[in-house]
C-alpha cells in the first residue's frame, strides 16, 4: 500500500495529484491516515494506531478505513 510519490499533501489537508490535476480536501483523520500510509504502515498497523487514539470500535473503523483506502485508489492516489 503505497501513496504515489508525486502526491502533494499540505498541512491543511489539501491533496494535489500533479499527474491528473485533481485536488482533494481531507479532514484531520483522512490526513492522518495518508501520513501513516506514507510512513509505510499497513492497514492493520494503521487500524491499531487509530483504535488506540480514538473512541471507535474495530468493526466500524475497519469498514471506514477500507472505504477510505478504496477511495484513494479509485482517485489515482495509490500506486497500482
Amino acid at each position: 500500500m503505497i501513496i504515489k510519490g508525486n502526491i502533494a499533501l499540505s498541512d491543511n489537508g489539501f491533496v494535489f495529484n500533479p499527474s491528473t490535476g485533481d485536488s482533494f480536501t481531507m479532514n484531520k483523520t483522512g490526513k492522518e491516515v495518508i501520513m501513516l500510509i506514507k510512513e509505510g504502515q499497513d492497514l492493520s498497523q494503521i487500524s491499531q494506531s487509530l483504535l488506540e487514539k480514538y473512541d471507535v470500535d474495530s468493526n466500524t473503523l475497519e469498514r471506514y478505513l477500507s472505504d477510505f483506502v478504496n477511495d484513494l485508489s479509485v482517485n489515482n492516489l495509490m500506486e497500482e
Binding site: 508525486n6 502533494a8 494535489f16 500533479p18 499527474s19 491528473t20 490535476g21
Partner: protein, 348 residues
C-alpha cells in the same frame, strides 16, 4: 542588454466567450525583457475587444475576412506595412492560416517574417484527415469521418453508436445523442463553418491539452500540458491547471519530431477511463490559454518571436506543475468616438 525594438502584428483579438489567442500572445511578448515591441492589432470585427485595449495594443487595422482570399489580405497588409514597417506577423486563427502560409514568401518580400507550418503539415492534421494522421504516426484517434450532406450523415451514423461528436470544419463541437440532434448540429456547423462537417466517436474521459512549439527541424522547443478544470458550454476552458504527465510530453515530442512541425500548436486529447490517450484534434496555432504556459515558466510567444527572427532558442526543460489559470470577463467602457473612427477609417 538593450531590448531589440520590433513591430509585431497579431490577429485573434476577439477576447470573448470563445476567446482568440491574440491578447495572451501579446501579454507574453510584452513580458519579454529582450524585446521592446510595438503591437499592431489586425482585426476582422469592429467589436473585437483587443482593439480597445490600448495598454496592450498600440494600433489596430481592420483586415478582410479570409473568405475574400489571400490577394485581398496581401493588398491590405501592404497598405498597413507602408505605415507601420511590420517585422513579424503572428496569425492566431485557424481560418486565416491557409492564406498566411500561402503568402509567406510575398510577406517576406516586403520585410515581414512569419513562423508557420507548411501547407502539407497544415492539411495533414486537418480534423477530417485525423484518422489517417493517427495511423501514420501511431497515435490513437477516435473513429470518425467527414460528411457533406444529411444523407452522408445518416449513412455514417449507421456504423456508429450514440453519442457522437459533431464538429465544425474549423471550430465548435457538440455531442449528439440521436439522429435528430446530430442533424440539427450538422446544419448549424455547415451553415457556420462550411463543409465538411466531421462526425467523431465520443470518448468518455478527462480532457487534457498540450501547448507545444516546434522549430521546423523536428525539435520540441516548448511544451506544457494542462487539464481543463472549468469548461463552458462551448467546450472552452475557463479554468485549467498545469499537470505532470510525461506521456503527454512524450506524445508532443513524438508528433513534433515526426512531422517537423514549425510554429505553435495545441494537442487536444482525452484520457479514457482505461487510461488510453486519444488525440481529438491538433490546432495549428497557439491556443488561447497560452498565458498559463507563460505563468508556468515557458514564455512561448517570446520563444516563437525569437524563432521567427532566426535567433537560437534553447528548448525549455521545465515548467511549474499545479499552476492554474482562471479566466474572467471584464467590461471596458469605450467612447463612441473610438468606435466611429475605427468603422469609418478602418484603423484605430
Amino acid at each position: 542588454m538593450t531590448p531589440q525594438k520590433l513591430t509585431v502584428a497579431v490577429t485573434g483579438l476577439n477576447n470573448i466567450d470563445s476567446p482568440g489567442p491574440g491578447i495572451p500572445v501579446i501579454r507574453g511578448i510584452r513580458e519579454s525583457k529582450d524585446f521592446e515591441v510595438r503591437i499592431i492589432g489586425l482585426a476582422y470585427e469592429h467589436l473585437e475587444p483587443g482593439i480597445y485595449m490600448s495598454e496592450l495594443v498600440d494600433k489596430t487595422y481592420m483586415i478582410p475576412y479570409p473568405a475574400e482570399g489571400k490577394d485581398a489580405l496581401f493588398n491590405r497588409l501592404v497598405e498597413i506595412n507602408e505605415k507601420e514597417k511590420i517585422d513579424v506577423i503572428i496569425p492566431n486563427f485557424d481560418a486565416e492560416l491557409f492564406s498566411f502560409i500561402k503568402l509567406e514568401k510575398q510577406l517576406e518580400g516586403i520585410g515581414i517574417k512569419t513562423y508557420l507550418p507548411t501547407i502539407e503539415q497544415f492539411d495533414e492534421r486537418n480534423k477530417s484527415n485525423l484518422p489517417a494522421y493517427g495511423k501514420k504516426y501511431g497515435v490513437n484517434v477516435p473513429a470518425g469521418t467527414e460528411v457533406f450532406s444529411l444523407s452522408d450523415l445518416g449513412n455514417a451514423l449507421k456504423s456508429m453508436n450514440f453519442p457522437v461528436m459533431i464538429k465544425g470544419k474549423y471550430y465548435d463541437a457538440y455531442p449528439a445523442d440521436s439522429l435528430e440532434q446530430a442533424e440539427g448540429y450538422f446544419s448549424k456547423m455547415s451553415a457556420k463553418w462550411g463543409y465538411p462537417v466531421i462526425v467523431q466517436e465520443f470518448i468518455r474521459g478527462t480532457e487534457v491539452n498540450v501547448i507545444a512549439l516546434g522549430d521546423g527541424k523536428g525539435n520540441l522547443i516548448a511544451a506544457v500540458p494542462m487539464r481543463k478544470q472549468y469548461i463552458t458550454d462551448k467546450g472552452k476552458a475557463w479554468g485549467g491547471i498545469t499537470i505532470e504527465d510525461p506521456s503527454l510530453l512524450e506524445l508532443a515530442k513524438q508528433i513534433i519530431s515526426q512531422t517537423k512541425w514549425k510554429g505553435g500548436m495545441e494537442l487536444e486529447l482525452i484520457r479514457s477511463a482505461d487510461k488510453k490517450l486519444y488525440l481529438l484534434e491538433i490546432n495549428p496555432r497557439i491556443p488561447a490559454w497560452v498565458y498559463l504556459a507563460v505563468g508556468a515558466g515557458q514564455n512561448i510567444p517570446e520563444a516563437l518571436l525569437k524563432l521567427t527572427l532566426g535567433m537560437d532558442v534553447t528548448p525549455f526543460t521545465r515548467y511549474d506543475v499545479g499552476k492554474m489559470f482562471i479566466r474572467y470577463s471584464y467590461d471596458m467602457i469605450v467612447d463612441l468616438e473610438l468606435f466611429s473612427r475605427l468603422t469609418t477609417s478602418g484603423e484605430l
